[in-house]
């Protein structure tokens, strides 16, 4: 700790508990777990500033994400300006895109506060670019992510081994992850090399006192009822969830399933919980179980969409869902998602559609009940919250008019908080257009002139209908093969029937085609499928929706503002009559509150953390009044989710407090026993009688820098093996001059078999090393077996296998192609670390320089531009026609994927040859929309 306590540091921590935490942290190292919304980042920035102002230090901030970096950077600059501390240097960011090794070294030498990506920091620590001893302190954000095998834990271990004096503070604002497993808090503390946890739940005495002592924020709760159709859909979805869960229970006996209830299924991470429970037996779970787990995620998304999307968008989303869950080729009825067979699924799709439009009951159809209605009529149900929102706004206006508030420093603006950007956009559009009337509505008199979304909804429906026609073509084009494989005959009929229009009373069950009955049909397999509406109907609906004059006058494009002619058209808004719509963004919301200084806040969706933020805001500024309106759908999933989130956080804190009470003192002794470290260097290969000589080198392994995403380097280091991070072209790990290892997790293995990368990698290893090895590493908690065969009973004929080889056959092919290749099977990264040290026993140490140079293209040698971004690289490889060579050429010759996508076939051909260029170009430029659908349909079969 520095001695500059006397330096004038101005802090911005108005509340008592914040000051408490700050003081505690200045005094000693600890882990602070604080309830969400209590202003964690504010404490962090103040703490950092207090060190920053003192100057002459090197502080590392790890675990911060992009937004937090921006926030902390701004806040530090602001603090520095306020306290006018000459020595404050603010925050410096270190992430890959920006700086080279040289720049980094210079920056570290200068000191200051650094936010560094973990992957870079670990390499810098290990390669000696940054000496841990020079670091004066480390601040860890998101401490809940520091599990034993994580990079952050690795960083902290190196830091603590070399540097005992520097400070170390960890922060977390999500208590839940600290409560799973056996003595989770103790384990976490061990990973963090800390002894003392400090817990600040909302019910902490000081917190409660600071927030409730003075004037509290005024909160008005509004329970908005859902419409009947919404409730129907919600119930139907819940029924599907329930059915899926019981399906899971039925298929997986012998697993603890107490938690598998409808209630917990609504949580964000229910599917991850199930996944984790099933992992040890994943190889024994059936295809169906896996599908059901996937379905649960999907159903949860649908539930969310039901409440946040408007009826048209919701229906559109369901259309996409349905098309995407079309059965894969060669599948049978068994392979379809089980929930699609339920009546409830039918309810979901029909009701969703009924919210948008229905058949118009005309005179003709009353007489003949069997006939399909002749035309369609828009229904366009509006979300109940919209009306409520309009009402609140009106009320606020009145309120502001009738009781002009005594002068305070609030702005008088209205802040509307909602779940995400999409809802934001939706609300913005609604508020802009809610008083616009389509001409048709004016004829109905008597109706009170209330706000309505009809203009917006009509526009959306028009978009939807034009989208729908192209969409059915797309999905037909994309999934026709699959469908054909299942029921070829129906497709035949569809093809032949296309020319002549079917008689109107004959309902045709055709998926996605332009013709067909109005209601949702069932596929031959029995699952729900998309029912197309007849062209004529769509046309009539379109006619009905033609923009009226009033509508046409409105600005067409809402939502996207091109920022041209900024100076001419834009000016600063008067903050007093402003409605700000903003999505929840974690700690960033604090900024929003501070900047808008709203007098009224409308919470469009419930969010526990935001309520606390308002409490903090309110208590921090005694001179501002805030009135909060809090909206939620009564009896909805939204409400339940909110309540259970609050409860879970409280439970988590209670458990943590209990565990802290029983926690044993842990003493970290990370350093290696000096005797052992000497013995390790002794060369035992001197056969009898020779003089014992200590070799100079401790065991070391050369590791490719890209491998630091896995936990293996950390575990190797824990076994006191020196890690040398290098940029390797051949292999991932070099253990001895002869042994080179390519590590593959089972997932990677499947992937790199599929795109042929593994073959090339092994080929390169064979060329340069005497003992090339393939390490197949299984996950720690997952089953130690390969996936079961696709089909054991099918005869394994050569032709059949060559067509769709499974993982086992590919392995066999690999070993046959490379007899010298050895395979290491490891059940977990821990096991791998053991195997590595076993393999290294009695062998020479590898030479990093040689390892780096092997396999390097001589043309590229010394080229700084050798590192590639992983995701874009993977995207490139997923394009048909791109093999290793083509990928390399494209990566070196072009800038980004966007550039490749926009190149013409000729340009591509110059780089990669005509054949590959043709395939790449066709991949990007195949057009689904418009009139080419029919040709596509035909051409698809040729590929």
């Amino acid at each position: 700790m520095t001695n500059d306590e006397r330096a004038p540091v101005k802090l911005s921590l108005p509340l008592e508990f914040q000051q408490d935490i700050f003081k505690e942290l200045r005094e000693e190292d600890e882990l602070v777990i604080i309830a969400r919304g209590l202003g964690l980042l504010r404490i962090v920035t103040n703490l950092l500033h207090s060190y920053d102002a003192a100057g002459n230090n090197l502080i590392l901030l790890i675990g911060a994400d992009d937004r937090e970096n921006v926030w902390i950077g701004e806040a530090l600059a602001e603090h520095a300006a306020i306290s006018m501390s000459p020595r404050a240097r603010g925050l410096s960011l270190v992430n890959t895109d920006l700086m080279s090794v040289g720049t980094r070294e210079k920056m570290y030498a200068q000191g200051g506060i650094f936010s560094i990506t973990s992957r870079i920091l670990i390499v810098d620590f290990l390669s000696g670019l940054l000496n841990p001893e020079t670091v004066s302190g480390v601040v860890v954000l998101h401490a809940e992510k520091v599990i034993a095998t994580s990079l952050e834990a690795f960083i902290l271990r190196i830091y603590r081994q070399k540097n005992k004096a520097g400070f170390l503070k960890a922060f977390s604002d999500s208590p839940e992850p600290f409560t799973t497993g056996f003595t989770p808090l103790t384990n976490m503390m061990k990973n963090l090399f800390l002894q003392k946890p400090a817990l600040y739940p909302r019910f902490h005495v000081t917190v409660a006192k600071s927030l409730e002592g003075r004037k509290k924020a005024e909160v008005i709760e509004l329970e908005v009822p859902m419409t009947d159709t919404m409730r129907d859909i919600q119930n139907a979805v819940l029924e599907c969830v329930e059915a899926s869960i019981s399906e899971l229970r039925k298929n997986n006996t012998g697993i603890e399933m107490e938690d598998w209830t409808l209630d917990s299924a609504l949580h964000r991470n229910f599917d991850t919980i199930i996944r984790r429970q099933l992992d040890p037996v994943w190889h024994r779970t059936s295809f169906k179980t896996r599908q059901v787990v996937r379905d649960l995620t999907l159903l949860r998304t649908i539930l969310h969409a039901l409440l946040s999307y408007d009826s048209v968008d919701f229906n559109r989303y369901l259309d996409t869902v349905l098309a995407a869950s079309q059965p894969p080729p060669g599948s049978t009825r068994q392979n379809q998602s089980p929930w699609l067979f339920l009546d409830a699924a039918n309810t979901i799709f029909t009701t969703a559609k009924r919210r948008v439009y229905t058949g118009k009951v005309s005179n003709a159809s009353i007489t003949d009940l069997n006939s399909v209605p002749d035309s369609l009529e828009p229904v366009l149900e509006e979300l109940p919250k919209w009306a409520q929102l309009a009402e609140i706004l009106q009320e606020i206006e009145q309120d502001a008019y009738f009781n002009p508030v005594v002068h305070d420093s609030s702005n008088g603006s209205i802040l509307i908080m909602c779940g995400d950007q999409a809802t934001c956009r939706q609300l913005r559009e609604y508020l802009q257009t809610m008083y616009v009337r389509p001409a048709g509505a004016e004829q109905k008199e008597d109706v009170e002139e209330g706000p309505s979304a009809s203009y917006m909804m009509r526009r959306k429906l028009r978009n939807y209908l034009s989208w729908k026609s192209s969409f059915s073509k797309v999905s037909a084009a994309l999934f026709s093969e699959n469908q054909k494989a299942i029921n070829g005959s129906t497709e035949q009929r569809l093809q032949s029937g296309k020319a002549s229009r079917p008689p109107p009373n004959k309902r045709r069950r055709v998926r996605g085609g332009a013709s067909g009955g109005a209601g949702p049909g069932r596929a031959e397999t029995g699952a729900v499928r998309i029912a197309g509406d007849r062209d004529a109907h769509i046309a009539s609906l379109m006619a009905e929706l033609q923009p009226t004059e009033i509508e046409a006058e409105q600005k067409t494009e809402i939502g996207v503002d091109p920022l041209e002619n900024m100076d001419d058209y834009y000016e600063l808004f008067d903050m007093n009559d402003l409605i700000v719509i903003h999505p929840y963004e974690g700690d960033m919301d604090e900024h929003v509150l501070e900047e808008t200084k709203p007098r009224y806040v409308i919470m469009y969706e419930p969010d526990a953390a935001f309520i606390r933020r308002i409490e903090v805001y309110r208590s921090s500024h005694t001179d501002r009044t805030v009135k909060v309106f809090f909206m939620y759908y009564g009896g909805s999933v939204e409400e339940q989710r909110y309540l259970s989130a609050v409860r879970r956080e409280k439970d988590a804190f209670t458990r943590l407090i209990r565990e802290r009470g029983n926690m044993a003192m842990t003493i970290n002794n990370a350093s290696l026993d000096p005797q052992e470290s000497f013995l390790r260097t002794i060369n035992t290969r001197i056969a009898g009688g020779g003089r014992l000589a200590a070799t100079e080198q401790p065991p070391r392994v050369v590791v490719d820098v890209r491998e630091f995403r896995s936990s293996l380097p950390s575990l190797l280091h824990a076994r006191s093996i020196v890690i040398v991070p290098c940029m390797l072209t051949v292999g991932d790990y070099v253990l001895t001059p002869n042994i080179c290892i390519e590590r593959k997790s089972v997932r990677d293995l499947i992937g790199s078999f599929a795109n042929g990368r593994l073959f090339n990698q092994v080929e390169a290893m064979m060329e340069h090393y005497k003992h090339p090895m393939l390490l197949i590493e299984f996950d720690q908690n997952k089953s130690f077996t390969l996936e079961p065969f696709s089909d054991l009973s099918a005869p394994a004929t050569t032709s059949g296998l060559a067509a769709v080889p499974d993982l086992q056959s590919k392995l066999v092919m690999l070993t046959l192609a490379f007899p010298r290749l050895k395979i290491i099977w490891s059940s977990s990264p821990y096991q791998t670390a053991e195997i590595f040290s076993e393999l290294k026993k009695g062998a020479d140490e590898p030479d990093p320089l040689r390892a780096v140079q092997l396999g390097l293209d001589p043309n590229l040698q010394g080229d700084e531009m050798r590192t590639f971004n992983q995701t874009s690289q993977d995207l490139l490889r997923a394009i048909p026609g791109v093999n290793e060579k083509v990928a390399m050429t494209l990566m070196l010759e072009t800038e980004s994927l966007t550039e490749v996508a926009n190149m013409e076939e000729g340009e591509l051909a110059k780089l990669v040859g005509t054949e590959a260029a043709r395939r790449i170009w066709r991949f990007f430029n195949r057009n689904f929309s418009g009139d080419t659908g029919e040709e596509l349909f035909a051409s698809l079969t040729q590929i």
Partner: protein, 208 residues
């Protein structure tokens, strides 16, 4: 009448030592016959296999070394077909990994008799097959390619892929679309939009 065999016999040669091994029951698609050979199975002109059950290995750790020694460096590819039939396999497998390096054998693990039999069949079946199917990408249908491509960035699923293409008509347009436009598609939340746009826009090479 028969075509002259290019190399080795057409059936799997089985050592009489393996009589009664249940994995033989699972060898169905390839013919096998007993023959007097040093290895347990001969799967091709240059390929042989030894079978080892870890349960047995724990009782007689020296057995396998004797058998490997008996092979006397014959055969190019010497497979050690290892059946994992015990729970605490870690230490044994570590030792075998080391052995495989020293004695030049390739370990293949299997977890059931069926799987073991299947490996024998596969080695025989692919004896002369060229490794084309692991060498380069296999062409699949356009829709699969498309979905594979779009779902490369994390958390983007098939439904999203379909939504994206159906909205923009072609992949090229989808790549050129601005984040705001993509954000309007149902199901595409902020995170997904950001991941997709980053993946597509970011330069291939890391700028140093």
């Amino acid at each position: 009448q028969a075509l002259p065999s290019r190399s080795g016999p057409s059936s799997i040669l089985v050592s009489p030592r393996q009589k009664g091994n249940p994995i033989l029951n699972s060898v169905r698609s390839a013919a096998w016959e007993y023959s007097d050979i040093p290895a347990d199975y001969v799967l091709g002109a240059t390929t042989c296999a030894l079978f080892l059950s870890l349960k047995y290995h724990r009782l007689h750790p020296e057995y396998i070394y004797n058998r490997i020694r008996d092979l006397k460096g014959q055969y190019k590819l010497r497979v050690l077909l290892t059946m994992v039939d015990i729970e605490n396999h870690e230490e044994t497998l570590r030792e075998l990994s080391k052995t495989s390096l020293i004695n030049n054998v390739t370990i293949m693990l299997c977890w059931s008799a069926q799987e073991a039999g299947r490996y024998l069949e596969l080695f025989k079946t692919f004896e002369h097959a060229a490794p084309t199917s692991i060498r380069a990408q296999q062409s699949t249908s356009y829709s699969d390619n498309l979905v594979d491509f779009i779902t490369v960035p994390r958390s983007i699923n098939k439904t999203d892929a379909l939504g994206l293409v159906s909205n923009f008509g072609s992949i090229r347009t989808a790549i050129n679309a601005s984040p705001e436009e993509i954000g309007m598609i149902a199901g595409w939340g902020e995170k997904k939009v950001q991941r997709w746009c980053n993946a597509v826009r970011e330069p291939f090479r890391v700028q140093k």
